[in-house]
């Protein structure tokens, strides 16, 4: 297992180098010169050259890349071009915190609803209740954000005046309810499906029959024995969702006007704000890689069979 963990750990820097190189290379081929963007189209060539020199855009590419990596390791991603003078690192950190809060609420909500529903569906397998839960689950994953967001907004905000239409005031404001619901709808489905499938498999196992045979109450058999084993694989999904949601709340943030990194990415792309774009891609890819690394390592503790081969 130690060898497995070390192998996984060694893979991380390779992945990060590849990711940073790819973002750097794509950024170079962008159609807009960041200095041109900042100074406007009708600028005298001298000022442009000075700006390019200041930004280090006239140096050899290899030097620029190494410099970029060295600074990134210190958390320095340069200055934003659009938000004049703001360090990209701080900009992203501020926006990332908003996205993390929103996603944590959505993930919690999705799990709190999804796992119990999945267990119920498995216990009542092939009954109308099971079909209803599965159907609602499929609906959750089939409804894209841009379908349910306007419909929810229309009913809850315009018709019933229950909730505000958008904005951000932290997690204790009513403004978070709608975006969290929209985000959670996809998460619920994943948890319902997985919990149901895992439970169905566990109920058939010999140890469940043994537990029943020795006279345990059904409640204890399900909750203490079957559920515990059914939840272990969910750990993986939790980790991957946590890593992936950071890039997944794009549309929700845009529609509900939430100042998270999804919206930051959108604004940065249209402003050709390269430092922000590359840093964002790097941060998102890194967070995903870290999440899947932690999941794999954590999983090898939870299920010692992993990594033995």
């Amino acid at each position: 297992m130690i060898v497995y963990i070390i192998r996984r750990l060694l893979w991380l820097p390779v992945l990060l180098i590849a990711v940073s190189f790819l973002t750097f290379a794509l950024g170079l081929h962008g159609p807009g010169d960041p200095c041109q963007v900042r100074l406007g189209q009708h600028v005298n060539p001298e000022a442009l050259a000075r700006c390019r020199h200041q930004e280090g855009l006239d140096r050899p590419l290899a030097t620029q890349y190494l410099d970029y990596v060295r600074k990134a390791l210190h958390g320095d991603f340069g200055l934003s071009l659009k938000y004049q003078g703001q360090p990209v690192g701080r900009l992203i950190a501020k926006r990332l915190w908003v996205t993390v809060q929103l996603n944590a609420v959505a993930l919690g909500l999705g799990m709190a609803v999804g796992i119990p529903l999945g267990v119920i569906a498995a216990l009542k397998a092939n009954s109308w209740l099971d079909y209803a839960i599965v159907a609602v689950g499929v609906a959750g994953v089939s409804l894209p954000t841009f379908t349910i967001a306007p419909i929810l907004s229309w009913f809850l905000a315009v018709r019933l005046h229950l909730l505000p239409t958008g904005g951000w005031d932290g997690i204790f404001s009513t403004k978070i309810i709608m975006p969290a619901l929209v985000l959670a709808s996809g998460v619920v489905t994943v948890f319902v499906r997985q919990t149901r499938a895992n439970m169905l498999e566990e109920i058939e196992q010999d140890y469940v029959r043994t537990a029943r045979a020795k006279g345990l109450r059904e409640r204890a058999v399900i909750l203490d024995h079957a559920l515990r084993n059914a939840l272990t694989p969910l750990f993986t999904i939790f980790g991957l969702l946590a890593g992936g949601l950071v890039g997944g709340s794009f549309i929700t943030e845009l529609i509900f006007g939430i100042p998270g990194i999804g919206r930051l990415a959108f604004e940065a792309f249209f402003a050709r704000d390269y430092p922000v774009i590359t840093a964002l891609t790097l941060v998102t890819a890194t967070s995903y890689a870290m999440a899947s690394l932690l999941v794999d390592i954590g999983y090898s503790f939870l299920d010692p069979r992993i990594g033995r081969e």
Binding site: L26, V138, S142, T281, A285
Partner: protein, 314 residues
């Protein structure tokens, strides 16, 4: 049959018939199949089905409610909403089928090479898939669209054969397709590799190799057919995902550019209407969204149905 003491090897036709019977038992899956097929029909025959042009603006009839001339009314610019929805299906069909085709071809090729050959080939392919997997798909697609799109268009204009294609506004299709398939094949490659690793150990593969069947033929004729069910299922599911991805990109204004109609761009353009009265919001904003949702339903149920029908033992 057993009573008469004879047993017939089931023909290919019998196998298909059995598969269809199992599939037809699942009504939701059949409905999904019908919906998915109708999307293809509408998309392919869009120029003949649409009552109006998708770009023709009638400025005397802006934001009209449904009428005989405009069955679903008109949008802000006086364009027929029904025709735009129909042409949007064409965009969805082109992008989704090409993306899925590329996913499958690249994924199956890479996955079978990795799974069958193993060694350093496997390491390189699977690590490459890992790297592309770590990128959030949307961001990678955005990054590609925003950075190398002009280059690709310029390159395509340089080739005489493709020039008229670019002029017709199809170049952005290529960029979207490229961006979406670049990140997508990894999942398919993993799936195929896993399948092949387990099938490779079966007796019939050993037998085929022992009598000297060439490697490509072992993979193509002996291993892949047995790995087919999960591939077919993930193609069906992936199709729904590809449609959503195209819609998401064009919603963000990064994919298909106006005036080419795409459901995503239609939702974005009409987004200001969501506060208006129910019929206006429904026609212009909810309808494209509900069509996408219905198609995703369809492909999900279709995938579930195929899964059941293709693995009768389980």
């Amino acid at each position: 049959m057993e009573g008469r003491g004879e047993w017939k090897v089931p023909s290919r036709w019998d196998n298909w018939l059995g598969f269809w019977r199992r599939f037809a038992r699942n009504r939701l899956a059949v409905m999904g199949l019908i919906l998915a097929l109708s999307m293809f029909v509408v998309g392919i025959f869009a120029p003949w089905l649409a009552p109006h042009s998708y770009r023709e603006q009638n400025l005397d009839a802006v934001e009209q409610p449904p009428s005989w001339t405009y069955p679903l009314g008109t949008d802000e610019l006086g364009r027929d909403q029904l025709s735009r929805l129909i042409w949007g299906a064409r965009t969805a069909v082109i992008v989704a089928s090409t993306v899925t085709f590329l996913w499958v071809v690249i994924g199956v090729l890479m996955g079978s090479l990795a799974g069958y050959l193993g060694g350093w080939m496997e390491t390189i392919i699977m690590r490459l898939a890992d790297i592309l997997f770590a990128f959030p798909g949307l961001l990678l697609a955005m990054l590609i669209s925003a950075t190398i799109q002009p280059r690709i268009e310029a390159w395509m204009k340089g080739i005489a054969l493709l020039r008229s294609f670019v002029r017709a506004g199809y170049a952005e299709f290529f960029v979207v397709i490229f961006a979406l398939s670049l990140g997508g094949w990894g999942g398919m490659a993993r799936l195929v590799r896993g399948q092949i690793l387990s099938i490779k150990e079966e007796g019939f593969v050993l037998a085929a190799r022992a009598i000297g069947v060439p490697t490509w033929r072992v993979i193509w004729r002996h291993i892949l057919p047995n790995a087919l069910p999960p591939i077919v299922v993930s193609v069906s599911m992936g199709m729904g995902g590809a449609i959503t991805a195209e819609v998401t990109l064009s919603f963000l204004g990064i994919g298909i550019q106006p005036p080419t109609p795409s459901w995503g761009a239609m939702i974005f353009d009409n987004y200001t209407f969501w506060r208006r009265s129910f019929p206006v919001a429904f026609r212009l904003l909810w309808l494209p969204g509900l069509i996408i949702a219905a198609l995703r339903f369809a492909f999900n149920f279709l995938g579930d149905g195929l899964n059941e029908a293709l693995s009768p033992g389980r």
